[in-house]
Symmetry: C2
Subunit: 437 residues, 2 copies
Amino acid sequence: MSVVIEPRVLKGFRDILPDQELERLRIVGILQQTFSMFGFVPIDTPILEYSEVLLGKGGGETDKQVYRFNDQGGRDVAMRYDLTVPFARFMAAHRNELYVPFKRYHIGKAFRGENTQRGRYREFMQCDFDIVGTETLSADLEIVVMIDAAFQAIGVDRLTIHVSHRGVLNELLASLGVGKYGVEVLRTVDKLQKIGADQVKAKLEDLIGTQAATAVLAFITATGTNDAIVKQMKELVPNAAADIERLRQIVAITGDLGTGNRVVIDTSITRGLDYYTGIVFETFLDDQPAIGSVCSGGRYDDLAGLYTKERLPGVGASIGLDRLMAALEDLPRHRAAAAVDTLVVCVDPALTGHYHAVARDLRAEGLRAEVFLEPRKLGQQFAFAERKGIATAVICGPDEIAKGRVNVRNIATRESAEGLTLADAAAWIQATVRKRA
Amino acid sequence: MSVVIEPRVLKGFRDILPDQELERLRIVGILQQTFSMFGFVPIDTPILEYSEVLLGKGGGETDKQVYRFNDQGGRDVAMRYDLTVPFARFMAAHRNELYVPFKRYHIGKAFRGENTQRGRYREFMQCDFDIVGTETLSADLEIVVMIDAAFQAIGVDRLTIHVSHRGVLNELLASLGVGKYGVEVLRTVDKLQKIGADQVKAKLEDLIGTQAATAVLAFITATGTNDAIVKQMKELVPNAAADIERLRQIVAITGDLGTGNRVVIDTSITRGLDYYTGIVFETFLDDQPAIGSVCSGGRYDDLAGLYTKERLPGVGASIGLDRLMAALEDLPRHRAAAAVDTLVVCVDPALTGHYHAVARDLRAEGLRAEVFLEPRKLGQQFAFAERKGIATAVICGPDEIAKGRVNVRNIATRESAEGLTLADAAAWIQATVRKRA
């Protein structure tokens, strides 16, 4: 075939190159490790499901963005567009094989054919974690503490988790006699950061009248210490004392547990979705406020009502890994680690077996050791090491091999050391790699 | 909504429950770690691509199994059905950003709407690793050594890697004057294990005549030590001396590097695909011969000819993770590890903050510690621990907390110890967990 096909990818999709994928695997590994320390267990679900299962019997706004088609067997199928709906279906399907409270995490790809502006991808990596089958304060605060622990483990210690309680806002709307406008009010309030207090107020006035709008605005703009905000909430919504007390306790206990002042009450947090009924939260990186929340979630009354009559209340959160990784890239401390520690160069192809033996022995010392696979000029091999971010090289010809010794070289500084034993070479490489990191 | 939707999954697709997913993550983690020790780097590519890119301009047998549709923008798209074609496209697209030899691994899902009998899934997890941009012996033997290292790391030491060289078989066919029947001969020979020598011979006789069939059969049924087979190969195909010598060296050097007698020459290995041109290999578990090869691959002349005029020779292999995991499940030593080390039970919900503090401190000792999130009867909480496979429990009421002490319990034996410091409790738990493992 003489005409080649252009190796392009679809709009909104992308290849992940090694440095970026290494960093993604590092973050994912830390998240998995953190979740497992808290007793969360992993699951997976299919990327392709029956459309009826993912979309319900009706239609909706989401539907237009969903990749949906008929498969070879004529089934109406769709690619998952989040990890929440499949989890609901999963819980309904496997309820008898599982125990509650059930704490799961799920890290995987989801697909939405949405507008690709503003760094959104049509294929994106989602990380969800939930506790279902319990309504306790204990579960609520565990989710908050675990979010904090996960970010600390990633190396991000400057973050703030903003927490509120949807029950309080719902009660406020009910007491103002505008409960039926709940969903619209929530969506308007959710835009506070984006469009500002004045515009929110104007929209609310159109929706629920001046008096109610004033009260809602007073509520969502409450400021001060956590205690001060609790006091204002109690004054503004006296009927929601139990919910406010729960919110106060969550913030107080997580603080005692070591989150310090990283958990704050923020009444402007509502989460747009009518799904939530209890605490709601968003997580902001102090050094990257512009990118918005990197981890959001809350408590819901019932996860899987679409698939089972058993009520499954829960609390959970979601990390958009693409957005988080983009944010981390901009933080100077989060430079990707090198993929390999040392390159065993090829001086003479007749010694190929020896080079692989040297690499094997260095690996036994815990080093990531790569053999250069071709007999190229030494300068080209060092250039390869530089290109791949490998800090050191191990060089040996027939003389060194006969003596069981090797020479080592720092690729960047060109410093070298000669005639080392393999154990000494391993130590030299380790020291050099550590110095550069 | 009163009518619930049945929470079913598509035929050939499946949910992965926690125990199985934990084991999969464990295997994947070991593979990633092994690959990185050899200097391989990870990449990812989209699950959805242009159909033209995945399937070429023509049609083919594979096409019928591919999930292909028109997206919202009217593009003809398809879900990837392997990781090889996307890798070829990737190399052509990013050639200028990469260095060669380029060593990558890729672990991800692929999709084929094929017959679901015999434990095949329509969504399956593939693990590919390749070295492209070099034709050396050094690259060939590195792939073989790394396969052995990966299985050793997983804990499977009873395996045999069967290696042959396609160049030798091709030369044999050429010398017999039946080179043009190459593809059909390969496919027939590939069935040797399944249909036996007699049937293969009959089919070959139909295809290339009695004399040639006899010679081919003599070649593919050569037996004995590696050296003995090399001798037979040289006699049968004297014109392929260079390829035979390379095969001999690969087996000899990998043996010296520590693969022992786990790498053997097996002239019946051909791999059905006409894609391969050099060494070819298949990997069998000695205790599970019936499941067939768990890791197969070989050397090819050109990876990405469909997308670029630059020739990219390489060598690589593929592990079918679903088949491997099924095989491991049947090996008694490979029982899934417990997900959690200890359960901090809830005696009094007023002490919720203390329970989370105890768990936090146990995590700091390296334990996976879960807090029971509801104030249920102790017996129910112990039953939960048993169900989730948690070996121990930590129990503390107001008295213990006042004294900074805890009680611990072995869930299975009901042994307990009282009034321990947290450090002693952590040691007790660690010892109990280790004993049970």
